[in-house]
């Protein structure tokens, strides 16, 4: 009897696995592709920096980041528990400032590097929406660094919601930074907005 049960169980699990595995695989492949494409685009812009001119490549790079990063998710995450305390207007301004004072800066920083090589390595699923995609970045004259991108599936479109460099999450760091400013100002959000306004160009 037990033997029969275990056989049925094995048969069922064999039947069940292919479909779940392929859904998971498709998720991982799409996530990885989104970052591989982003890496290629970034590399093209970095390499054509001289012929395009610095300002034009900066605009292009910032556009690429704006399109491929999900600023709403990033803004909500980095404001943490203060998000719900904020008014709709404050939320809107904060999201805009995350775009202008944080994401644009990232774009500029990556563009500053020279001879950068972006190589997408392995990806793995975190859950059915999120995945971590690894990328090695080799700046000239510096050791290779591993970037771990957290991407999320937004109705079939994958966008970046976090970047970890050497195990340091940018979103977590900003979240700590922002909550420190809010706490030091008696729980007010306005001083944080003022500081961010001063940081954008």
């Amino acid at each position: 009897m037990l033997q029969l049960l275990s056989m049925v169980f094995v048969a069922l699990s064999l039947l069940a696995t292919p479909s779940t595995v392929s859904a998971q695989d498709a998720h991982i492949i799409k996530a990885r592709d989104s970052i591989a494409q982003l890496g290629d685009k970034a590399q093209n812009i970095v390499q054509s920096k001289e012929e395009l001119g610095y300002e034009a490549s900066k605009v292009k790079f910032r556009e690429m980041v704006a399109k491929n990063f999900d600023v709403n998710t990033i803004a909500r995450f980095t404001l943490g528990r203060y998000w719900r305390a904020a008014t709709a207007e404050e939320q809107k301004e904060f999201t805009g400032l995350v775009q202008d004072a944080i994401l644009d800066k990232y774009a500029d920083r990556i563009l500053e590097y020279n001879g950068e090589r972006f190589t997408t390595t392995d990806a793995r699923a975190v859950n059915d929406k999120d995945a971590i995609v690894n990328m090695t970045v080799k700046p000239e004259g510096n050791p290779e660094t591993i970037f771990a991108w957290r991407v999320r599936n937004f109705n079939g479109e994958y966008r970046v919601i976090d970047l970890s460099i050497e195990g340091i999450s940018m979103s977590v760091t900003h979240r700590n930074d922002f909550s420190s400013i809010i706490q030091r100002n008696g729980g007010q959000i306005e001083p944080l907005l003022a500081l961010l306004r001063s940081k954008k160009e």
Binding site: G80, R81, T121, N176, K199
Partner: protein
Amino acid sequence: MISAQRFCMILALVSFLGFSFGLQQTATAQSYDQDGQVTTSEDPFEDFNRVVFEFNRGIDYILLKPVSQTYKYLLPEVVRLSIRNVLGYLGTPVTFAHELLQGDLDDATVVLKRFAINSTVGFFGFADAATDLGLPAPSLEDFGQTLARWGAEPGPYLVLPFAGPSNFRDAFGMAVDMFADPVNAWARHEDEDGVLIGRIALSTVDQRAQLLGTLDRIYEDSLDPYITIKSFYEQRRQSSIDDIVDTSHKNVTAVQDYDSYAALEN
């Protein structure tokens, strides 16, 4: 000239007192919000830490940064790389011991093979021949990481004068490692203070030179550099403790627990 031995003993004593204090503090070392989620570690010595942080920034501004700039400007990359290789080579016994104490026999084997190759083909550590032969260094280990693996809590965050970000566990670990290091032990025995101080100075300058642009950008971009550096330190340490880089050296196996943070808002 200060006696390096005395300096180490004082550091060890202070760290040890701090460590036992740190252990008593662990119950309150992390703050929780209403959902019972860990937010950031608590910082009971924040006022003191901020003073030391500014002191270190001052020292950096007037001394360490200019020296590191000169170092990078004067020495060709190949020389700086050789110095970095030798410093890494000298750290091998400590890393090897901690791989064993953490039960990581795979990495211990890699460290031993690297030591054999770099002692011979690498000409006493000047060249990292092992990496060229496809045997890159596993991440560095220290007593702070071993203690963490054994279950010790970090204790409160601590900014040490000159040495920078730390916590009670890691400061204690650092003092023990400095004391136990065979090269340091030899130097103490032979009264070669120059070796002890030179090694610390050189590795400080080497590390600072690698961060020349990076640190400026962090100070420039961050709203509260003290908090940013604290956050970097704590995240980086956790990644080192967890040995997040896989054996191919191309992927990380873990990232910050984003979901436990994200869950707070929903």
